[in-house]
């Protein structure tokens, strides 16, 4: 099999699993998680980053070979997301940014309109913008127009571990959107990540399911394998599913040429 390269924001990656830094009992497990998962991209909430910390900082635990993807967690509108992105850049976190605009603290569902606004502003400023959104075709199209580098639809509400509840909508995005589709949020089990990849998603981002596992490194490894397996299945072209039985006496068997 030829080497399967994942290109995102003009950079080539081998791994299609993105990981996160939130919810860990101890950040010191992060290097082990990165290693075990094979992930090369890791997201971090800028609001958690404390460069002046005397008590340890999440950034100290992110391996240097990882591509850092700061996110705008905590932003309630486009303006706040833009300000967080600029702060991240000014603080030396690079010019990649995952946009999270959430103004509903109960369900933590992303605000597509504000996300598209922030995406347009930041893409025009030269950021590589990865917006986290609902699995919605219209929002995804507006993100393409706004200059996003990928579309990150949720599988289920963030942190719920409920799996790929939006599969039919994600499938439409995979079919219709030319940008990479990275399924983000809600994936609770490796089998669900595998399913997303089998469907043709370009990558998955998994945080809660790894961070809150009893053994985060082992779970990270499981997700790494699952994402790879799903990708290989997609590339190998699985046999089409049949929704009905194949009749042994076909109804059109009487038709003959000539």
């Amino acid at each position: 099999m030829n080497k399967d390269i994942f290109e995102l924001g003009g950079v080539e990656f081998d791994s299609r699993l993105l990981t996160g830094t939130g919810k860990y009992a101890d950040d010191s497990v992060i290097p082990e998680v990165c290693e075990a998962s094979g992930s090369q991209i890791i997201t971090v909430a800028l609001r958690r980053v404390d460069f002046e910390s005397t008590t340890g900082n999440v950034m100290d635990f992110i391996p240097k070979n990882m591509k850092l993807l700061p996110n705008t967690s905590g932003a309630r509108n486009a303006d706040e997301a833009v300000r967080i992105a600029r702060l991240a850049k000014a603080m030396g976190c690079g010019d990649w940014i995952k946009i999270e605009v959430i103004s509903d603290n109960k369900y933590l569902l992303p605000d597509g309109y504000e996300t598209a606004k922030a995406t347009e502003i930041l893409a025009n400023e030269g950021f590589v913008v990865l917006p986290y959104v609902n699995a919605d075709l219209y929002i995804a199209r507006s993100l393409v127009d706004a200059g996003a580098a990928a579309v990150m639809p949720l599988g289920a509400p963030i942190g719920t571990n409920r799996g790929l509840q939006t599969r039919e909508m994600v499938r439409i995005l995979i079919d219709e959107i030319s940008l990479p589709i990275i399924v983000d949020a809600g994936i609770g089990r490796p089998s669900e990540a595998c399913e997303a990849m089998e469907m043709g998603a370009d990558a998955c981002l998994v945080n809660t399911a790894i961070a809150t596992a009893s053994n985060p490194a082992m779970m990270a490894s499981a997700f790494g394998h699952a994402v790879k397996a799903g990708r290989e299945a997609y590339l190998s072209g699985p046999g089409a599913k049949h929704s009905h039985a194949k009749a042994s006496s076909p109804l059109t068997g009487f038709l003959h040429e000539g």
């Binding site: 910390s53 000014a90 509903d104």
Partner: protein, 372 residues
């Protein structure tokens, strides 16, 4: 619309009777639901739920882990002044208590800020007594401007303000407010607050909503458990939090669960004693009712109890606490607002949290002022 008419309905309802009529079946159904209504919440707070605390604890633990991870956000209070114009009969700052009164000036604030910042904490809660003329909104604003240099998140726990005043505090850099209603019982409230501006029950009740409207990012409410029958205030606090969550989804609504503590002055006898079991039941019911709600446990609670309830819903804890004005730097003997039970330093608390498998989170917000 305000929370007042909703609260009034609960104040008029025969709550003792309602709590007493909850059945085992009601409790089981509430535990097994994914989306609880106020009636389910009442069931979980009722005496009938006591035999189900372990089941409630298992679910509360799972919900907290899922929503907040294995993390506890740490903060510390900074008492800026203890002048007070109220006579809350349960409080050490009561204007009748003959204690030295003081207020920190800009230099003292800076000294306190430096001392706290050295512990690594980034979330600060500033408090004054309830004395609008001494600790004016302008005084608080100027203090916030100094403290914001050291802390990306500054919250206020002061007297009730108007929406415009809260908006000015937000503009000055405040991103959270804490307001305890003390008791939601409108009949009992004037007995406990015989004099002073705090006597205005409704102005205080609507203060958290005014803060939400003014753009505050975090609003933390609570009742001082024990002033009234604890179940009644626990129920109304949860209903208040749900009301705010529904109406202001962009605001992070949190609830504190303080129990009444001793203080100098006349001995005050609380209406109900809130046992460890009761406080735990309150927290579990609240977590099941509002899975995304922040829950704060202060140093009013003893170290062992604070550690035991860690996995049951707690998201925020105070550490390195002094309830005295200037208590983080001055060592001369003063009188605090109440006695604390857990005097452990930030470093000690961090070690304890790690020992229990939790990450102490020092910074969970970054001020956006500099990026304007």
């Amino acid at each position: 619309m305000s929370f007042y008419p909703i609260c009034a309905e609960y104040n008029d309802a025969p709550l003792a009777e309602q709590f007493g009529s909850v059945t085992e079946h009601d409790v089981r159904r509430a535990i097994n639901k994914t989306k609880l209504n106020p009636k389910d919440f009442l069931a979980l707070l009722s005496p009938a739920a006591i035999p189900f605390l372990e089941e409630m604890a298992q679910k509360a633990n799972q919900l907290t882990l899922q929503n907040f991870g294995k993390t506890i956000q740490l903060f510390t209070p900074l008492y800026m002044a203890n002048f007070c114009t109220n006579r809350c009969i349960y409080c050490g700052f009561n204007t009748k208590n003959k204690i030295p009164r003081t207020q920190l000036g800009p230099e003292e604030l800076e000294t306190e800020a430096k001392a706290i910042a050295e512990t690594g904490l980034k979330h600060l809660l500033i408090l004054t007594g309830d004395a609008r003329t001494k600790s004016s909104p302008e005084y608080v604003e100027s203090a916030v401007k100094i403290l914001s240099r050291y802390f990306p998140s500054v919250s206020i726990e002061i007297y009730a303000m108007t929406e415009e005043e809260y908006a000015r505090q937000v503009e000055a850099g405040v991103d959270g407010m804490t307001m305890f209603q003390e008791t939601y019982n409108e009949e009992l409230y004037p007995e406990l607050h015989p004099a002073g501006p705090k006597r205005d029950y409704r102005f205080r009740l609507d203060a958290p909503e005014r803060a939400c409207k003014a753009g505050m990012r975090v609003v933390n409410i609570g009742a001082l458990l024990g002033l009234d029958e604890w179940r009644h205030d626990a129920l109304k606090t949860g209903i208040h939090a749900a009301y705010l969550q529904d109406k202001y989804p962009d605001v992070d609504i949190a609830v504190s669960l303080p129990r009444i503590r001793t203080h100098v002055g006349d001995a005050f006898v609380p209406r109900s004693l809130v046992s460890d079991i009761s406080l735990t039941q309150n927290m579990l019911a609240l977590r099941l009712f509002l899975p995304r709600c922040g829950i704060t446990i202060s140093t009013r609670e003893a170290p062992e109890f604070r550690e035991n309830i860690l996995p049951l819903g707690v998201t925020r804890m105070s550490a390195g606490v002094s309830t005295e004005v200037g208590g983080h730097t001055k060592t001369d003997e003063k009188v605090g607002q109440f006695d604390i039970s857990d005097g452990r330093s930030v470093e000690e608390m961090s070690q304890v949290l790690r020992k229990h498998g939790y990450q102490p989170v020092f910074k969970d917000w970054h001020s956006l002022k500099e990026a304007s």
